[in-house]
Point group: C2
Chain length 298, copies 2
Amino acid sequence: MTDTIISSASKEVVLGFERPFVIIGERINPTGRKILAAEMKEGDYSRVKADALAQIAAGAHILDVNAGIPLADEPKILAEVIQLLQSMTDMPLCIDSSIVAALQAGLEVYKGKALVNSVTGEDEQMEQVLPLVKKYGAAVVAISNDETGISQDPDVRFEVAKKIVQRAADYGIPACDVVVDPLVMPVGAVNTSGVQAMKLIHRLRTELKVNTTCGASNISFGLPNRDGINGAFLSMAIHAGMTSAITNPLHTEVIAATLGADVMMGRDPDCMNWIKRFREAPAEGEGARGRRQTRRRA
Amino acid sequence: MTDTIISSASKEVVLGFERPFVIIGERINPTGRKILAAEMKEGDYSRVKADALAQIAAGAHILDVNAGIPLADEPKILAEVIQLLQSMTDMPLCIDSSIVAALQAGLEVYKGKALVNSVTGEDEQMEQVLPLVKKYGAAVVAISNDETGISQDPDVRFEVAKKIVQRAADYGIPACDVVVDPLVMPVGAVNTSGVQAMKLIHRLRTELKVNTTCGASNISFGLPNRDGINGAFLSMAIHAGMTSAITNPLHTEVIAATLGADVMMGRDPDCMNWIKRFREAPAEGEGARGRRQTRRRA
């Protein structure tokens, strides 16, 4: 059993093989969101707040926080957003940046045990990020690529993941605090992406025995009915051994696919989570508060 | 490789491990449908026709045909419906009855290689049904229960399936013409049903090396948002090795879960089936002909 504990000051979330699936809400991220980026740059975090509350209401277990805005003071913004979120919710956070100084600024103010997103298998990256993870007693997302790029061969990516886990151990970070991201590529561009992902997730689960996560929406990039592809991917990846995903809980297909998979894997005793969620399903759409009866079958 | 060929006079459908998933449309079945039952009993097959066309339009590959109406002449009705369907469509059929005389009447008039639904592991059943399957060169659905009932232990059900495959061989029916139904129980009643089903499907695929099918909607009986549970079940069962299901193609979640699983398993080259289906998604609801653009993501 491999349990990865992520916490705020007062709340723990655990990733584990026999535990309910963990949804890491992806919405607090200015990438591709011009209005949010402009607001965050000006220190206006009202939309960040609203996104946090909406994702919590929709079923997120952890919130990813990214402040990657061109020409902005990313370390300052990331630290401010983390402090704001920790003042208004007990959700554990995932501190997301490609800039080491921003990760450090975020970790300095964070209360609890954060999930750092992320480190790759590149030596320079590992040398910078892993000591920070150790210093602040955090867990870390390990992305299975290195200086040679992203291999199409899941076995090569497995070896990269293994290297990161070993290097983390050298820094005193146990394997249970390394959450591997198998790197899911768009299946519309690389037709074997689904097969690769399932195979790698299964090896990570059974051989390396680590928890896993991924940017789940990436699988459907460029295809119509993205929610449909995302739902099938999530349910199947959970069957293959995936224990968390960075995704959008506001999409009802994501919630149905992950809670449904929990039911199928025997991780929802008496289907209570499912029944609680869908007996009176919330209306579709972000932030909606209305409720409707689940539609009856013909 | 195990290929199960089911055919009409002019069209073949093949169940196989590396092939796209096969949907057997479940709608032509008067069980629980009072109006349909009354009409079929009177020889009015207009609704049967409509159900056939709607299921074909929705993406069924084979149509299940059941005429189980209390106090009706089931063999006569089943034969008439089969003849009607074969006069209007080239869809291969699954001849579904618990009455041997009805199976025989259906097989007598059927053009092509039918799928007989079903035989259990009970000796008396096997002695009656298997000779018919052999005589008419059909394939058969083998349900993994016997005189002792339905075991909660997937390993016991595996042994029952194995027994039926062996008995079929004694009658000259090859294993590729036995499609095993692992018997999916409602997960709302038996919390381990999903785990049992996945385990059994995987063993049937890897050890007994047979194609599989099941009444997929049964898994969600009694729960809210049945389509959500059914979708998660189908995608995961396909990942575990299931190659067909008897289900309702009019539910868009069923189509998304199965076509999405084909994409994930690398069985939809260039995602062409997915794109064709969802580029302009049909409006929800049975028999709807309207089309709308797939909704864009925020």
